[in-house]
């Protein structure tokens, strides 16, 4: 004997709900897979392939680590998309310790700023992906709206932080 109509209807509803749940699950999995890039045959972009563009605000501590980081190697490299905004008071030191070791064709990557406001206007103009700065060494710190112009702000507190971001 065939099952009553109400039972058939209930069975259909359960099947429909099951199918919908499975579909939703597959969709979520697919989106998560694309976001993390962990599916078979895919791998996350390496640091080199991502080629993050960087902007470094040069203050006294940044000059202090020159002997360990060797900023001129980054400036002289065609592969590095990096710019140095030299704060007032650091022009001469950065020029003599770093830029003297830089090829003429790459010296445009160092921009001397005569004012602190000028540093931030440069950051906004260049719109690099990564900003590195020691806020305690820049008067008035980081402006509130800077986050609209860069993707990530690396706020260094100590020289050791610099060495973590730019390993020797």
């Amino acid at each position: 004997m065939a099952p009553p109509r109400s039972q058939r209807k209930r069975a259909l509803n359960c099947t429909g709900a099951l199918v919908a749940a499975v579909g939703l699950g597959v969709t979520c999995w697919y989106l998560w897979k694309n976001y993390t890039g962990e599916a078979e045959g895919e791998q996350r972009l390496s640091r080199e392939e991502a080629a993050e563009s960087k902007c470094v605000v040069v203050t006294p501590s940044v000059c202090d680590v020159q002997n360990m980081v060797h900023w001129e190697m980054l400036i002289n490299s065609d592969q590095e998309d990096i710019v140095f905004l030299v704060a007032p008071g650091c022009h001469d030191r950065f020029s003599s310790e770093v830029l003297s070791l830089v090829d003429e064709q790459f010296k445009y990557k160092a921009i001397n700023c005569e004012t602190v406001d000028g540093i931030w206007y440069c950051v906004k103009s260049l719109m690099k992906q990564q900003l590195y700065v020691i806020p305690s060494e820049v008067s008035n710190g980081i402006p509130n709206d800077i986050a609209r112009y860069v993707q990530d702000i690396g706020q260094w507190r100590t020289r050791e932080d610099i060495l973590v971001a730019f390993p020797v």
Binding site: K124, S125, M127, D145, R148, Y149
Partner: protein, 202 residues
């Protein structure tokens, strides 16, 4: 010696007279008052338009065609494409200067010296157009006044907002407003402008 003249082929030419009769009387040679020496080569007509003169004062500063030729809209020189002379001593084809004055951007100023453009009422060349000039420029001034009063209320822009550099600025909006003003003026006023003259404008 006796000469028999078989045939005479007279050659006539003409040129606009932009002299001031009052000033001519003071000239050293008043008997030349009614004589306007004409450079035939410069007055030569080609396809209804004169070849560019070498001196700027012989060509309309707007269309760069000779005074004695026509503006770009006309085919036949003469009274149908007249010359007018400003108080500022700058001359233009009637159609050229009014086409310019008919825009809000002109503000009624001479395109050469940026003084208010007024016809010199003492010059005979301007006499047929004085009344028309007055009525047209009055209408233009009223329209400019109303448009500026209207624009002043509606266009309140904010300056000094910090925005990422790819999002444009106030200068762009201001320039776009001027450009669209010019284009709208041209489209709306062309029919009424040429209606003042019984001329076929192509």
């Amino acid at each position: 010696m006796k000469l028999d003249i078989k045939r005479v082929n007279p050659v006539f030419t003409w040129s606009w007279d932009t002299r001031d009769p009052a000033a001519a009387k003071d000239r050293q040679y008043p008997f030349l008052y009614n004589y306007y020496p004409v450079d035939v080569e410069k007055a030569h007509l080609e396809n209804g338009n004169a070849v560019d003169g070498d001196e700027d004062e012989d060509v309309c500063g707007i269309c760069r065609a000779s005074y004695n030729g026509t503006c770009p809209s006309c085919k036949i020189p003469g009274d149908s494409c007249p010359l007018v002379a400003g108080l500022c001593h700058h001359h233009f084809h009637y159609h050229c200067i009014f086409r310019w004055l008919d825009t809000n951007t002109s503000k009624g100023l001479c395109p050469m010296c940026r003084q208010q453009f007024q016809l010199n009422s003492k010059l005979p060349i301007n006499r047929p157009y004085l009344e028309k000039f007055e009525s047209i420029t009055k209408a233009i001034r009223e329209r400019v006044f109303l448009d500026e009063a209207f624009d002043g209320n509606s266009q309140q822009e904010e300056y000094g907002n910090e925005m990422p550099s790819d999002s444009g600025g106030t200068g762009q909006e201001r320039r776009s407003a001027d450009q669209s003003d010019l284009e709208e003026d041209e489209e709306e006023q062309e029919d009424s402008f040429y209606g003042h003259l019984d001329v076929n404008i192509e």
